[in-house]
């Protein structure tokens, strides 16, 4: 066996099918409120972002007001918060259904993959169902423990979030 092949064996190339499985797992963990397990899908330096709807591709949390721009620490604290009864906006817990589709691998650099997918996330609380529509842009790195999310940017296909009211869940 050549050296190149051994390297490939250590971090095998990911297919779209592999990412679909991974993103379906992520969606299921969110829907089941297994948030600590969900958080474990992220790298230690991960970022999670939801830009405001009038932001552009060039907008960053350093130059524009987003809805959410968490570094890994704050993302962890978001999970700590959502796990508490005192997170009033999400207690009693809402019911959510995260669906992902149109999964595409956009580019690969070493073990880092740019993956995009469309999403529709439904949230029901107090007999009101909100629909979050958009696409996710992921940076996913594949290491010995499998894929981990280094960045998740959730871009809403909305003109505002008036129909949603707030973003109190992870979309």
């Amino acid at each position: 066996m050549s050296q190149t092949m051994q390297k490939e064996a250590a971090s095998p190339a990911m297919t779209r099918h592999d990412f679909e499985d991974f993103l379906y797992l992520e969606a299921a963990l969110l829907d089941e409120w297994r948030l600590n397990e969900w958080l474990a899908l992220f790298t230690d330096d991960a970022r999670y972002m939801v830009p405001s709807t009038d932001c552009t591709d060039a907008s960053t949390p350093a130059n524009s007001l987003f809805y959410i721009a968490d570094d890994r620490f704050r993302l962890g604290e978001r999970v700590v918060r959502l796990n508490k009864k005192m997170a009033h906006a999400e207690w009693p817990r809402s019911k959510t259904r995260h669906t992902v589709h149109n999964v595409r691998i956009r580019s690969v650099e070493g073990n880092a993959y740019a993956v995009t997918c469309n999403f529709v996330t439904y949230r029901t609380k107090n007999d009101i169902t909100n629909t979050y529509i958009g696409h996710h842009e992921y940076k996913i790195v594949v290491g010995p423990d499998g894929p981990k999310i280094a960045e998740k940017r959730s871009i809403l296909d909305l003109d505002s979030i008036r129909a949603l009211g707030k973003i109190s869940i992870i979309i």
Binding site: V50, P51, S52, T53, D54, C55, S59, P61, A62, N63, S64, L65, F66, Y67, I68, A69, F73, R74, E77, R78, V80, R81, K84, M86, A87, H88, A89, E90, N126, D159, S160, I161, R162, A163, L164, G165, K166, I167, S168
Partner: protein
């Protein structure tokens, strides 16, 4: 002791009893359609309403479209550099002449029949012009209509739908001192940071007036935010919470206080590191040179939640937010929120400011979603108003110096609201 400005009265909507230290608001004020209709006439068609910030139309030909109290407006800077507010409706048949949220344009063309207006509002062309008389629009009545009044204070542009309203300067009165304290953070003026939070709350708009200057709810509503601060290494100084509330006349009110969080003006927290410390020290030096030590400390270190009657909140806390909100019905409002910061701010300080903003503020933050939930639960609670008819806003009414968690500032809002809603008017 009777609270200053207490009217010692029992009315349709409020009970203001300075002797007993009781202040009650009728829940009908939050739900009844006739109250909503009267508010439109007596408050939103008479008061100065925030339109936008000058930095949003920084360059000639820049425009923004925005709904203000149910009317669709164009806020622009024309080719000559003059800032205008127009009604966004073609004078021919009524269609929007501008359908974009923002941009740059020398003219506005209605796509329906093709009428063209300059960005100074003049009708400059109509297809088939030869079919109109020569003197058509001689009186200017087919030009874009200007909003009745447009005035600005320190870059904040306000409109008034009442041609006969008092000047903005007189209207703002006692709240100008506090607007100044916020704006004086900047050496070269404040600017709106890109990105607008545009959300909605299924609750009466006055609940957000109360909530925005409510120091009482933090410990319970925002328990998870307080936990977050405590868990975050270096996010706090050892400064305690302390200060007080004030009514500023005209329904304007403020709470001003010290707090442990970092302020991207001049309150440093360890998480910002040595670079942050230097940045903060430089800002404090500049402020001290310009304003003297006392005012510099107030600008740099004190927090302010300011309510500008009726519906603009300027919160100068761990970041600065402008928040304007408009009722659509008794139980729903639209909210627009912006972050503002000094034009000259360094990239690093801007980043700290925006990071700070999002941990507390906005519909994806660690606090605002819980406020939204609280307001919506109040609105639902008012379904019981035949059984339970009054809200209580008495806290601290008999205190010599009400604190930030007392409710003086909310009583200030309600007294003005009540004055406007119940004044005898011959014309109505």
């Amino acid at each position: 002791m009777i609270e200053k400005q207490s009217s010692n009265s029992r009315g349709l909507y409020i009970i203001d009893d300075g002797d007993r230290g009781l202040f009650k608001v009728a829940r009908t004020a939050f739900v009844e359609p006739q109250v909503f209709a009267q508010e439109q006439k007596r408050i939103f068609e008479r008061c100065w309403l925030y339109l936008g910030h000058e930095s949003e139309v920084a360059k000639p030909n820049d425009f923004v479209t925005r709904a203000i109290a149910g009317r669709n407006l164009i806020f622009n800077r024309d080719g000559k550099g003059v800032i205008n507010a127009f009604y966004n409706t073609c004078t021919h048949r009524g269609a929007f002449v501008c359908r974009e949220a923002r941009g740059s344009s020398k003219m506005f063309q209605c796509f329906y029949h093709g009428w063209v207006f300059s960005n100074e509002g003049r009708l400059i062309d109509q297809p088939g012009k030869d079919a109109y008389p020569d003197k058509f629009n001689e009186d200017g009545s087919s030009n874009l209509a200007r909003v009745e009044r447009l005035e600005n204070y320190r870059g904040l542009y306000f409109i008034n739908y009442d041609r006969n309203a008092i000047s903005l300067d007189a209207y703002l009165g006692g709240v100008k001192e506090y607007i100044d304290l916020v704006m004086d953070q900047a050496e070269t003026g404040m600017e709106v940071v890109g990105g607008t939070q545009q959300y909605a709350i299924d609750a009466n708009w006055k609940l957000l007036c109360e909530n925005s200057i409510d120091g009482y709810h933090a410990a319970t509503t925002h328990a998870t935010y307080m936990d977050y601060l405590a868990n975050t290494a270096g996010s706090m100084t050892n400064v305690g919470m302390g200060g007080g509330g004030k009514q500023l006349g005209g329904g304007h009110a403020v709470i001003e206080y010290s707090a442990p969080w970092g302020r991207p003006v001049a309150q440093h927290v360890p998480a910002w590191g040595e670079d942050g410390k230097k940045d903060v020290a430089a800002i404090m030096d500049r402020l001290t040179q310009k304003y003297g030590e006392e005012r510099a400390r107030r600008i740099g270190l004190m927090n302010r939640n300011i309510l500008i009657f009726p519906n603009l909140v300027l919160n100068d806390i761990m970041a600065v937010t402008l928040r304007a909100f408009y009722p659509l019905s008794p139980d729903r409002m639209h909210v627009n929120a912006w972050a503002i910061g000094p034009r000259e701010e360094s990239g690093a300080m801007r980043e700290r400011r925006l990071f700070n903003f999002l941990e507390f503020l906005g519909p994806g933050g660690f606090a605002t979603p819980d406020d939204v939930e609280a307001l919506e639960m109040c609105q639902r609670g008012y379904k019981n108003l035949r059984g339970v008819a009054w809200n209580d806003i008495s806290k601290g009414m008999l205190r010599e110096k009400p604190g930030t968690s007392d409710e003086l500032q909310m009583r200030a809002f309600w007294r003005q609201w009540n004055n406007l809603m119940t004044a005898q008017e011959a014309a109505e």
